[in-house]
């Protein structure tokens, strides 16, 4: 059956319309990923609105996965030639990519980065195919308490890992997201919360306008500031043979980075940038002659790009098995899956088992096409880097408005996008991460309904929670995380030591 599903998916993607759509989506993703300020999240969010009316749902899914892979990979070109990562995922690539470009090896750096990106995604697909069914069967043991704690665990870990030093800010961001999800009629009793009699508010706040606002709006507004225009370095020859040799010589690092990337991707809400940084760090820590890192060592590029692209597959695993997104772009992707009549979660392998294989095959095709397009059209696409953002950003804002509107054909969503854009701007100024906020919006309804369902079944008693091993494990991890991040764990340890 598995073979049949894989074959069907291949035939699907190879149909002329779908293949063209995939190529166009990958190219669009590459361009959006290259442009600093236009993130992968924003690219998928915009395309979600765009694909809403596409008749064939498979075509829409192909386009969304194509733009995801393209955007995460495209960021490396601006990181290498401009020293400005196109997406946060490519931040670690700039460390060695830009010095290489300054040494006259920009083409080679782009070749290595693109090849590593392609390998990262393909390796992550192996994990998608093997881990998703396992996690799905494990998730079938989940009941209301487990789902509630899974949401809380997701927010806590995402807040901790994205807040860069101050976990409290990440958690606050997550709570604000959870609160946003409480607006509208609740799913258990259809009681109107924070709606103030407004019909639009009663139907709740849609994820896509919030996402476009939080991620797109601040970048558009920041482009209005004056600043010197960055100089794009010249794209030199790819030096393909040398590039392949470098990748082959570092194949162990590629596999290790893929493992790290998938692992990071599976953690709820933690994105591709963390995958890139951790892989870079692991390559540096395990390698010999590491003095060249940060000065143009190709091993740094190999690790960073494999790691961040492996996150693509990693982030999709919890989407498919638990309906919990592994990263911010995966959160939009999940919303898009729901919009196109797929229900990711523990029942996915029962209700539509073919979907997992479709996603895996589409990812492989997208990454191979990405490799071909990124290298084949590099001389054309790098010209995009010279486009002035002050002329580009008003057009991007127009697309944000259209993207927000098309979700429900409702002007209220445009206003929501603007409102959350202002919140995103304030959060960016205050150095508060936006990813936990988005995760909160995604998981808010799940957390609330499962908590109340569990309490209703136990007639208001919390005791059944302690009779379920998985929920107790989640509870212990959550409490430990809070205690360690707030310094209370160290304080308690010190107190115990003093008493002894």
């Amino acid at each position: 059956m598995t073979f049949q599903y894989l074959l069907d998916a291949c035939l699907n993607v190879l149909s002329p319309a779908n293949f063209l759509m995939l190529a166009a989506a990958v190219l669009a993703g590459l361009i959006m990923g290259m442009l600093p300020g236009l993130s992968a999240t924003m690219a998928i969010a915009l395309l979600t609105g765009l694909t809403y009316n596409v008749g064939d749902h498979q075509t829409a899914i192909i386009a969304l996965l194509g733009v995801y892979v393209g955007a995460i990979s495209g960021g490396c070109q601006s990181a290498i030639l401009l020293n400005i990562p196109g997406t946060p995922a490519s931040a670690a690539t700039a460390l060695d990519g830009f010095p290489m470009a300054r040494q006259g090896n920009g083409g080679l750096a782009i070749f290595i980065a693109t090849t590593a990106s392609c390998l990262g995604t393909i390796l992550s697909v192996i994990f998608v195919l093997t881990l998703t069914p396992l996690l799905t069967s494990f998730a079938l043991k989940f009941a209301s308490w487990e789902f509630f704690f899974l949401s809380i665990f997701g927010i806590l870990i995402c807040g901790t890992l994205t807040a860069r030093g101050n976990a409290l800010k990440g958690w606050i961001s997550g709570i604000c997201g959870l609160l946003t999800a409480q607006i509208g009629l609740d799913t258990v009793d259809t009681f109107a919360r924070f709606s103030y009699g407004n019909v639009n508010m009663m139907s709740g706040i849609q994820l896509i306008p919030v996402m476009i606002g939080l991620f797109g709006f601040p970048e558009i507004v920041k482009a209005f500031k004056s600043g010197s225009e960055a100089k794009v370095l010249q794209l030199t020859s790819f030096n393909i043979l040398k590039g392949f040799r470098i990748v082959r010589d570092n194949i162990v690092g590629v596999v290790r980075s893929a493992f790290i990337g998938v692992g990071v991707g599976i953690i709820p809400g933690v994105g591709e940038d963390v995958g890139g940084w951790l892989s870079y760090w692991a390559m540096k820590a395990s390698g010999r002659n590491t003095d060249g890192f940060g000065k143009g060592d190709p091993r740094g590029i190999v690790a960073a790009e494999t790691g961040n692209n492996a996150c693509v597959g990693g982030a999709i695993i919890p989407v498919l098995s638990l309906a919990v997104p592994g990263s911010a772009p995966a959160a939009v992707l999940m919303a898009a899956f729901f919009m196109h009549n797929y229900r990711p979660g523990p029942l996915l392998m029962t209700e539509s088992p073919e979907f997992l294989y479709n996603v895996a095959v589409y990812l492989v095709f997208a990454s191979v096409l990405m490799w071909l397009i990124a290298l084949g059209m590099a001389r054309v696409t790098v010209r995009v880097l010279t486009v002035n953002k002050k002329l580009l950003m008003p057009v991007v804002f127009l697309l944000c408005v259209v993207g927000a509107y098309l979700i429900n054909y409702n002007l209220f969503d445009v206003k929501v996008m603007f409102f959350f854009g202002l919140i995103g701007l304030a959060m960016s100024y205050m150095n508060v991460p936006a990813a936990p906020f988005i995760l909160g919006v995604v998981l808010g309804s799940m957390a609330d309904s499962n908590l109340r369902r569990a309490l209703r079944l136990s007639d208001g008693s919390f005791l059944p929670l302690f009779e379920r091993p998985i929920s107790v494990a989640f509870l212990i991890v959550c409490v430990l995380m809070i205690l360690s991040q707030t310094g209370l764990l160290a304080w308690l340890r010190g107190k115990v030591k003093r008493e002894r």
């Binding site: 500031k225 057009v395 202002l422």
Partner: protein, 179 residues
């Protein structure tokens, strides 16, 4: 603004938000206890989760403020000083060109989102918005930047082509209806 001052101000705003959410949730619990729902048990009330979130927000905002004031001998006077500093920083921002550019840009986007979209045919509104925005950025941009170098003809042409492409893509190719 210094990171610690930002944290203090952020904490104050969150404290106000958390208090409001908690108060609103208590009222919600009261409303749910009345007909038609008659949910009198707090643990199953629709106001429970928002109440918990509101209280958590208050708690975390206090921790954030306390963290930002840590190490000061007179935290209360430092707290008051920081609030004053932040107000004066906000006033001073109006004299900053970058801030003004961003503010005017945001106001233009606000006008477009709230008054133009839906009231004027999309194509006309989009061209008008793009031209206005690009002309504004042309004058607001620093000397020597390529946006500044772009002349009015190029701006109008860019706006016309961009708006037409958006309309063509969404209305003709994807068969959607734009506002």
């Amino acid at each position: 603004m210094d990171e610690k001052i930002k944290d203090t101000v952020f904490g104050v705003v969150l404290f106000a938000l958390g208090s409001y959410v908690a108060a609103e949730s208590v009222l919600m619990i009261g409303r749910a206890a009345n007909p038609p729902l008659r949910i009198r048990q707090l643990s199953v009330s629709p106001g429970l989760f928002p109440l918990v979130l509101g209280l958590l927000l208050v708690l975390f905002s206090v921790l954030l403020i306390a963290g930002s004031l840590k190490g000061n001998e007179k935290p209360l006077s430092v707290f008051a000083d920081r609030l004053k500093t932040s107000f004066s920083a906000m006033r001073a921002a109006f004299g900053n060109n970058d801030f003004l550019s961003m503010l005017i840009g945001v106001v233009m986007m606000f006008v477009y989102c709230f008054f133009v979209v839906g009231n004027i045919p999309f194509w006309g509104g989009a061209v008008g918005f793009l031209v206005a925005m690009m002309v504004f950025l042309r004058f607001a941009g620093p000397a020597g930047c390529s946006a500044r170098a772009a002349n009015l003809g190029v701006i109008v042409l860019t706006a016309l082509v961009s708006a037409s492409l958006v309309v063509f893509l969404f209305e003709k190719i994807f068969k959607t209806v734009l506002p």
